[in-house]
Amino acid sequence: MFLEIWLKHAALEVQEYVRLVGATFRAIVTRPRYRHDIVEQLDLIGVGSLTVVLLTGFFTGAALASQTGLTLDQYGGRAVVGKLISSSMIKELGPVLTALMLTGRIGSGIAAELGSMVVTDQIYALRALGTDPVRKLVVPRVIAGVLMAPVLTIIADFVGIVGGWLVSRFQLQVASGVYWSSVTEALYTQDVWMGLIKPFVLGFAIVTIACHVGLRTQGGTQGVGKATTVAVVAGSVAVIAVDFFVTQLLIKLMY
């Protein structure tokens, strides 16, 4: 009985999520569009997340250099530390950690904002005033998330490699020239594509999940708190899972 209720509930959530994604795509390609909302969200999601992404990228790269330096020492391979950092950051850590940071910062914010609008009847008010909430609220956030996730990932990759360089140079005593040449040596076109394609998909997943959860908020302020938690938990799990499947797909297609 419990399993049946759970399965019905899960199926309904998936159905509603797919419906929202469909409505979002339709709204993206048709008019009207709320351009100033798109610009506002690009600023909020992109510029607003810069600090957290810079710090995360930098410290991840630096810690990675320290850890891989220790392991590489066992094989006398300290000089190739840059190779490991660049490939790890660009292919995996940059996209995933940036996406996780965005889930915490953007996913929670979107779910809380839309959830509050639902419980205070603002979504009904929007519809009563002739505005489609998907066009006005979801589309600008999805566009901003999809466009800004790759930009932030590139920034995270770069500062991560810089963080790795600082540790390699001053802690592991690897010459700068050796580090940077090993960084570029490890970069293949496929790796760069993988690092660029992933954040588009992850950005889309984070924002659409947060919008879906926010718009289905029920039960007053307590419901808003619950929606925020669900958006972060579901978004984080989705980032890890989607990353795995996209990685498998891209390996099959490109390598």
Partner: protein
């Protein structure tokens, strides 16, 4: 005669609900609801909490779908319309929500002019003028640049009325517009409802469980004085008859009639409600 010509006539029905029914899972919210709102008249929907009176407003605006029944608004059968088609009907339909439902992130000016700024091609200067005009009408002209969080409960409701009337709809739906307000503030909101009905000729559907406000709206009218100012005075008997009461009970209409008939009713439930 076309639908538009019929709607231009005095006494034309602007909202018709015919055997409307809605339930959420096992819980029946509206069992069988039928009523008609005549152009320029007021229908006051009374009822206890959870009797389905707010739900009927959401069904009329197409925010909720009825399980069965027919709903006509301004000659359009809204129970059959898609969300996209419904937008045209909503152009002539304003709704004031419980607690106002103002947009938190927008100023009073942006809230009031929202529809005109976002959904029409009206030039900005013209929209600004209209916003100032409606805020002046409800006596909040100096609150243009305030945020909703800086307003009192009564001011929020009045701004919500201004937002609903800014695009000049011919029908306004009020959902508990005075609930939670002190009697003096509630009277200022009631006065706005009366003025809109009598000066702007707006047809009104007022949902409330505040009897004092319901009777005040039904028994008063707005009149223009010689100097152009508007005052709210006791209604003439003819005007009083233009306001009708509907009492909801468990998703059904248990009374329909004017203020006098409501006062005279011997129904035990109505007497308990009115006491």
């Amino acid at each position: 005669m076309t639908a538009t010509e019929i709607l231009d006539e005095t006494g034309a029905p602007v909202i018709v609900c015919d055997h409307v029914r809605l339930s959420f899972d096992e819980h029946v919210v509206l069992e069988d609801v039928s009523f008609t709102l005549i152009k320029g008249h007021t229908k006051i929907i009374l009822g206890a909490s959870g009797s389905g009176k707010s739900t009927i407003l959401k069904i009329i605006t197409g925010l909720l779908r009825a399980d069965s029944g027919v709903i006509w608004v301004n000659g359009a059968r809204v129970d059959r319309l898609s969300e996209r088609e419904m937008m045209a009907v909503r152009a002539d339909l304003g709704m004031i929500f419980q607690e106002g439902a103002l947009f938190d992130s927008l100023t009073v000016r942006e809230n009031v002019g929202y529809k005109l700024y976002e959904e029409t091609d009206m030039p900005i200067e013209q929209v600004d003028r209209r916003v100032e005009e409606v805020l002046g009408f409800i006596g909040l002209g100096e609150f243009l640049h305030r945020m909703p969080s800086e307003l009192s409960g009564g001011q929020r409701r009045r701004v919500a009325i201004a937002r609903a009337m800014a695009f000049k709809p011919r029908i306004l739906l009020y959902d508990e517009a005075t609930t939670g307000l002190d009697p003096i503030t509630a009277t200022t909101v009631d006065d706005e409802i009366i003025k809109l009905r009598d000066i702007e000729n707006v047809s009104s559907l007022v949902v409330t469980h505040q009897l004092r406000d319901a009777f005040y709206i039904a028994t008063h009218m707005a009149a223009k004085k010689a100097d152009g100012t508007v005052e709210v005075v006791p209604a003439t008997p003819e005007k009083e008859r233009e306001a009708e009461f509907i009492m909801f009970r468990d998703g059904l209409i248990c009374f329909e009639g004017d203020a006098d008939a409501l006062r005279r009713s011997k129904d035990p439930y109505l007497q308990t409600f009115l006491s």
